[in-house]
Each structure stands twice: as structure tokens, then as C-alpha cells.
């Protein structure tokens, strides 16, 4: 056993230290004009979340094409993974060294950058009434809007659905459940037919949050929910929370094979159990659909439905969990107009179609990019349902402040392993919310 953590943290802190030495905080730069004519020269830096195969090639190709069009521009890519981009962004933020264009989630994640004055106001160029803005689905654009201003460029959309194996349902004699209670009731026959009813892996904690957030949207009135995401207005007293937590626990205990041990299973193992035909259902994002049909389950045997609404739910039955992901432009960048031009190029219809098609399979938020010709049947269906939804429920781990999200995450894990009750989970979240005020 050798010393490990201090050098690592010292290195990270070293970076932050240098930031602190430089005075800390963004200097108040004059607001850049996003609508100005760009000067096609210099280096444009972009931080993406597309590291790894196959997605890393997308921005590499975009950069190469853009440089061909504008030889005086050099595009510098910093490609990170879903996990590493979080640390990278926070370190660069603290060091006041954000690139010109950088990845963001919606919700509290994007809010922090907007609140801190680090995201350029793009209303003039991407507002809903602008030429560029009209090319995006309104919901995806609104997800990055704050106080009537537009800050983000949505790149691809996402939504959460229960994916199911049609053959398994047929064999077990069950139909697509109309209500949450029917979903639970279907688990017995599916198990008798030789399937794990629902594959589920919660090693990372967030898969449980996805179930919970959809159930909260069904069981808690929308206005209450929105107030509760903000520590200053949060009461977290609605009975819908406890109801949702108990429903989730019922699903874990009655519909998964791993039950209280689910925290020890990776979500990718659950993915494989479904794709391999061992499980009848798996709650998944649109981004996972093509993977679900890469094994024994063929595209024609794969169906989707939103998590069924519990009977007598007090929330909004039409809300669907999902959220676009996109990019912000550094408000302090001296190349805001050039950054806008690059992102216009990246979100043009042709490039958006490329992004939506295999091997990338990221359903673009650009209207007309996802078609039955470019995407798989399930992806197309999922995107249509997301677009039709009157409101999207943003992921629980990005919609609220990190301390509260972390309390939900720990609570979800404790609930699964049987170490606590729904009431105690809610109480711990309430404490975290109070501390975050």
C-alpha cells in the first residue's frame, strides 16, 4: 500500500491554486456580440464529451471539414468521457481557463455557468424566432433558456423508456402495461416464462435516480416539484415522494433478480442481460436503443413504452423524463462569433443527420435530422415521443444542486439495499437541501 490520494489531490489543487493566485473569478469582460461577423482566424478550442469509440470521430471530422473551409482557423479539440468531463470542466472553471466552446448538461449544471457569467448570451443568434433557432425542436432550445434568454446550443436529445422484448411478453402472455401496478403484476408471469422481468444495475447510483425522477413527475404536482429542486424554496413535504420511493422499492424487490444486491451490478451488465435475451425489460435511454438490439434481441422484437403511470398519481401523467445535451460558448472568449459560426456548421442538417445515424446514434435536436431512413425504428419512435411530450423531466442528478442530488443518490442506494426507509431517505434529502440554502 503506497501513498496515493494526496499527490493526486495536490495536483488538482495545484491547478486551482494557480487560479486563486490569478485573483480568482471571471474578470468582467464586455459582453461579446454573438451576432457579429466572425473573423476566420486563430485557434478555436472545444471541450466535448465524445471521447472514445465511435463518437470521438464526429468532432474530429467536423474540425477537419471546418478547417478546410477556413484554412486560417485551427480547431483544438479536448475530448473527454461522460465521467472525466465533469472533473475537467470544474478544474478549468476554477482556473478561469474554459475553452471557447464547452459541453454542458441542462438543469443546475448549465445554471451554474449562466449564473457565474461564463456562458455567452446567444439570444440574438439562437432565440426561438431566429433563423438558426427555428431549426431546433422548441423543447430542446427551451431547456437551455433562462429568464427569456438563450444560452445553450442543444446537440442531441435523449429520453428514458422501458425497452421490452416482444417475444418474452408473448411467451409470458403479458401485454404492455397500462399502469405502474400492471407493470409490477407482469413480473410474475415473466419470471415463470424464464426471464428476469427487469434488468437493473445501480453500481453508479444514477440509474435509480432515473426511475425516481420519472415517478416523482407522476406523483408530485409539477409546481411543487420545481420549487423543491431549489433549496431556497424547497419543502420536500409532498406525500408523492414517499409514494414514489416505495413504488421504486417494490419494483426492485419484485421485478429484478438481484433485488437488494442491485447496487453491486453495473448498468452495462443489465444492458447485456436484456440484449442477450435473459431479461424481458430494461429501463434505458434512447442513446442505448441501438445497443439493446445488437445481441439476441432483434430490432423487430424490441419495443418501448414510457414508464407506466401509477394509479391515482397526483402529478402530470404526460411528463416524460429526458433532456437534451449541448454546448455553451465561453462569455469571455475573444472568438464568440467564430464559435457561433462553428456550432452553426456543426448543427447544420447534414451534420445533424450524420450524428443521428450509426455509428454515432445520437439523436440530433435539429428538426428533420432523425428520420426512419437515418435512424433505427426505436430511436425514431423514441424521439417522436420526446418531441410530443409537453414537458421533459430533467435528470435528477443535474436538475437540482449537487448536494441534494448526492443525497438522493445515496438514499436510492440505501433504499435498494434495505438499509433505510422511504421516510428516512426523504429526511436525509431534506437535510441536504436545508444545508445547501
Amino acid at each position: 500500500m503506497r501513498p496515493r490520494v494526496l499527490p493526486t489531490f495536490a495536483a488538482l489543487l495545484g491547478t486551482l491554486t494557480l487560479a486563486a493566485c490569478s485573483g480568482g473569478g471571471p474578470a468582467q469582460a464586455p459582453a461579446a456580440d454573438a451576432a457579429a461577423t466572425p473573423e476566420f482566424s486563430g485557434t478555436l478550442s472545444i471541450l466535448t464529451k465524445f471521447a472514445g469509440d465511435p463518437t470521438d470521430a464526429y468532432f474530429e471530422n467536423l474540425a477537419a471539414e471546418y478547417q478546410k473551409k477556413h484554412p486560417q482557423v485551427k480547431v483544438e479539440l479536448i475530448q473527454e468521457t461522460d465521467q472525466s468531463v465533469k472533473d475537467k470542466l470544474k478544474t478549468l472553471t476554477a482556473s478561469d481557463a474554459l475553452p471557447d466552446i464547452y459541453f454542458t448538461w441542462t438543469g443546475n449544471w448549465a445554471d451554474n455557468y449562466i449564473r457565474g457569467g461564463r456562458a455567452a448570451d446567444l439570444t440574438k443568434v439562437i432565440g426561438p424566432d431566429t433563423e438558426w433557432g427555428k431549426t431546433f425542436s422548441p423543447g430542446s432550445l427551451a431547456a437551455f433558456a433562462r429568464d427569456g434568454k438563450n444560452y445553450g446550443i442543444p446537440l442531441y436529445g435523449n429520453g428514458k423508456f422501458m425497452g421490452y422484448n416482444k417475444q418474452a411478453f408473448e411467451k409470458a402472455g403479458v401485454t404492455v402495461p397500462a399502469a405502474f401496478e400492471d407493470l409490477i403484476a407482469a413480473c410474475g408471469p415473466l419470471r415463470k416464462a424464464g426471464y428476469e422481468p427487469i434488468a437493473f444495475g445501480n453500481k453508479d447510483g444514477w440509474p435509480a435516480l432515473h426511475y425516481l425522477q420519472q415517478l416523482f413527475a407522476y406523483n408530485v404536482p409539477q409546481a411543487t416539484l420545481e420549487a423543491d429542486f431549489v433549496p431556497e424554496t424547497a419543502k420536500l413535504a409532498d406525500p408523492g415522494y414517499v409514494t414514489s420511493l416505495n413504488q421504486f422499492k417494490t419494483l426492485v424487490d419484485q421485478c429484478t433478480d438481484t433485488k437488494s444486491g442491485t447496487n453491486g451490478v453495473l448498468y452495462t451488465s443489465a444492458q447485456e442481460a436484456f440484449a442477450g435475451g435473459k431479461a424481458a425489460m430494461y429501463y434505458q435511454e434512447i442513446l442505448e436503443f441501438d445497443n439493446a438490439t445488437s445481441g439476441k434481441v432483434k430490432p423487430d422484437d424490441f419495443g418501448i413504452f414510457p414508464l407506466p403511470v401509477p394509479k391515482n398519481a397526483a402529478g402530470d401523467p404526460a411528463v416524460l423524463e429526458g433532456s437534451p445535451e449541448g454546448y455553451l460558448i465561453n462569455a469571455k472568449s475573444p472568438r464568440v462569433a467564430l464559435a457561433v459560426d462553428f456550432m452553426k456548421f456543426a448543427t447544420g442538417l447534414e451534420n445533424a443527420k450524420v450524428l443521428s445515424a450509426p455509428p454515432y446514434g445520437q439523436p440530433s435536436t435539429v428538426i428533420g435530422a432523425v428520420t426512419p431512413e437515418t435512424s433505427s425504428k426505436a430511436v425514431y419512435e423514441g424521439v417522436q415521443l420526446v418531441n410530443k411530450a409537453p414537458k421533459l423531466a430533467i435528470w435528477l442528478d443535474t436538475v437540482t444542486v449537487p448536494e441534494v442530488a448526492d443525497a438522493w443518490l445515496a438514499g436510492g442506494e440505501a433504499l435498494i439495499s434495505g438499509g433505510t426507509t422511504a421516510e428516512k431517505v426523504l429526511d436525509s434529502v431534506r437535510q441536504a437541501s436545508d444545508a445547501a440554502k
Binding site: M1, R2, P3, R4, V5, L6, T8, F9, A10, L12, L13, G14, L16, T17, A20, C21, G24, G25, P26, K86, D87, K90, T93, A94, D96, N112, Y113, R115, G116, G117, R118, N202, K203, D204, G205, D257, T258, S260, G261, T262, N263, G264, V265, L266, S269, A273, V401, P402, E403, D406, L409, A410, G411, E413, A414, I416, S417, G419, T420
Partner: protein, 295 residues
């Protein structure tokens, strides 16, 4: 004059290293201390001085205490396995007559130490996997279905499972160091003890243990210090979950800063961690001075 010049030149040679160490080691430590007194919003850049509030929060934070408890548990188990157990094994290896077998056995025990902690963590994650892991398969095959469980998925078993992996990884390294220390003991001492009628157990307690006490002290300090700086294996295997049951100071520090955005609070945890490891290092220096064995 010449001596003064030589001294001055000598100092000049040392200055670059001192500057580097100062800038990259001591300045961050001082800055960390400063950060721990701030409520720092990295987004707006505002830094509000809060005095010792972050330290007061530590006292009331149950996760901090459970993380510290996990570090202590780690240290206790590690001293048992990687100091006492490794010393015993090294003595057993030393008693193997065949030099060839000695070398083979040493290599067998040392191989896990050559594997990086991250790789070892991933390897054991799959060994512990409840559905596909070989551990549960072996238990079921032996008719012990009741013992098969989600080792890393339950609060009661996750930390012991990580500690077990860590012992497997570090045990061979300690054994090798003890084996080298035992080999340095002059064989005549063992011969004299044997002539006096002292058996193998007696020779272990009356010859081996006293004459390797310098190494034992050093290993105890290094092991305890390492136990407080655990990070990689926990991060890879559970990331501190489920329900924060496997958090150690290192992972809680990371989570507080880079997940929960409380950089001031994370700096306070780092300060506590620094004080603990500094204390251990001072103890190590003091012990090293006292434990010199000569023959």
C-alpha cells in the same frame, strides 16, 4: 574564502530544486489551508471567508466520521496482514531449504503487487459481481448458496470486500521486504540458537522478530500511512457507495469538491488528512532513529 565559495556554489545548485519543491509542494499546501477557510463558488469566482466553519461542519458530518472509521479499519487490518502476517510468511519462506523453491514462492506472492491498483480493483469488481462473478459461482458450486451475495452492493459487505482485495494486492510486497530483512540476519545467530536447543518457533520469536524490528516499525508506519491515503481501489470498486458506506477520507474529499462543488470543505478534509499523515511521518522519523539494530 575557497570554502565559502564552495558553500555558496553548493547552495546555488540546490536553489532550483528548492524553488520547484516550494512552488509545487509547499505553496499548494499553504493555499489548501487558505481554501479551507473559504466558501468558494468556482462559477462566479466569489470567495467568502468563513473562518473555521468548514472544520465545524466536519465535526457534524456523519460521512466524514464513517470515512475516517473506514480508514482506521483499513489501517488495523493492513497492519495485521501486511506487517504481522507478512513477517510470519517471510519467516516461513526463509525456512524453505530449496533456494529455487524460495524464489518461485516469493515470485508467486509478489505478482499481485506488480498489478496496478486500478487494474486490481477492476479485476476484483468482476470477481465480486453477484451474477457472473466467480466468487459466487464457487460458493454455489460448493453448496453454499446462502453465502453468495452482492459483495460490493451491500453496506455490510462492501468495505470488507475492498479491504480484502487491498490485502491480496499488498501482502506480497511486504513479504518480500521482510524476506530481504530476514536474509540479512547472519546465519551464525540461528546456528547458535539451534545449538542452544531453541526450536523454530523460539528462533522466530527470539532471533527473527527482534532483529527485523527496524523493518517491522518501518512497514507498520508505511502501511498505516498508506491506509489513510487509500483512494484508487475504492474509487474503482464502489466510488464510496452504496449509501456512502465505503467512503474513505480520500474519496469523500474528492466527492465533496468535484461532485458536490464544496471546494472549501474538500480543502478542510485535505488538511485533516495532511495532519494525520504528517503525524504518521513524524512518528516514522522518530521510530527510525530509535530502532536501529546493529550486529
Amino acid at each position: 574564502m575557497r570554502a565559502t565559495l564552495r558553500r555558496t556554489l553548493g547552495l546555488a545548485w540546490v536553489v532550483p530544486a528548492l524553488v520547484l519543491v516550494g512552488v509545487f509542494v509547499y505553496l499548494p499546501l499553504v493555499q489548501n489551508l487558505q481554501f479551507s477557510t473559504l466558501k468558494w463558488d468556482i462559477y462566479s469566482g466569489s470567495q467568502e471567508y468563513v473562518g473555521l466553519d468548514n472544520y465545524a461542519r466536519l465535526v457534524d458530518d456523519p460521512v466524514f466520521w464513517s470515512a475516517l472509521g473506514n480508514n482506521v479499519l483499513y489501517a488495523v487490518v493492513s497492519v495485521g496482514f501486511q506487517v504481522l502476517g507478512a513477517l510470519l510468511l517471510a519467516a516461513l519462506l526463509d525456512s524453505v531449504r530449496s533456494e529455487r523453491w524460495q524464489r518461485v514462492l516469493r515470485a508467486v506472492y509478489f505478482i499481485p503487487s506488480a498489478i496496478s491498483l486500478t487494474v486490481a480493483g477492476l479485476l476484483f469488481y468482476f470477481i465480486y459481481e453477484p451474477n457472473l462473478g466467480p466468487l459466487n459461482h464457487a460458493l454455489r458450486a460448493a453448496g453454499l448458496d446462502g453465502l453468495a451475495q452482492a459483495w460490493l452492493g451491500q453496506e455490510s459487505t462492501a468495505m470488507p470486500a475492498i479491504i480484502a482485495m487491498s490485502q491480496w494486492q499488498g501482502f506480497g510486497y511486504s513479504t518480500l521486504l521482510f524476506a530481504v530483512a530476514i536474509q540479512r540476519i547472519p546465519r551464525e545467530i540461528y546456528g547458535a540458537a539451534a545449538i542452544d536447543g531453541v526450536g523454530p518457533v523460539g528462533r522466530f520469536f527470539h532471533v527473527t522478530v527482534p532483529l527485523v524490528r527496524e523493518m517491522t516499525g518501518l512497514m507498520a508506519i508505511v502501511t498505516i500511512s498508506g491506509a489513510f491515503q487509500v483512494f484508487n481501489e475504492v474509487m474503482v470498486m464502489t466510488a464510496g457507495g452504496p449509501n456512502n458506506s465505503t467512503q474513505v477520507l480520500g474519496t469523500w474529499l474528492y466527492r465533496s469538491g468535484f461532485v458536490r462543488n464544496n471546494f472549501g470543505y474538500a480543502a478542510a478534509i485535505a488538511t485533516v488528512l495532511f495532519v494525520i499523515t504528517l503525524g504518521i511521518a513524524v512518528a516514522q522519523l522518530w521510530a527510525a532513529r530509535r530502532r536501529r539494530v546493529e550486529w
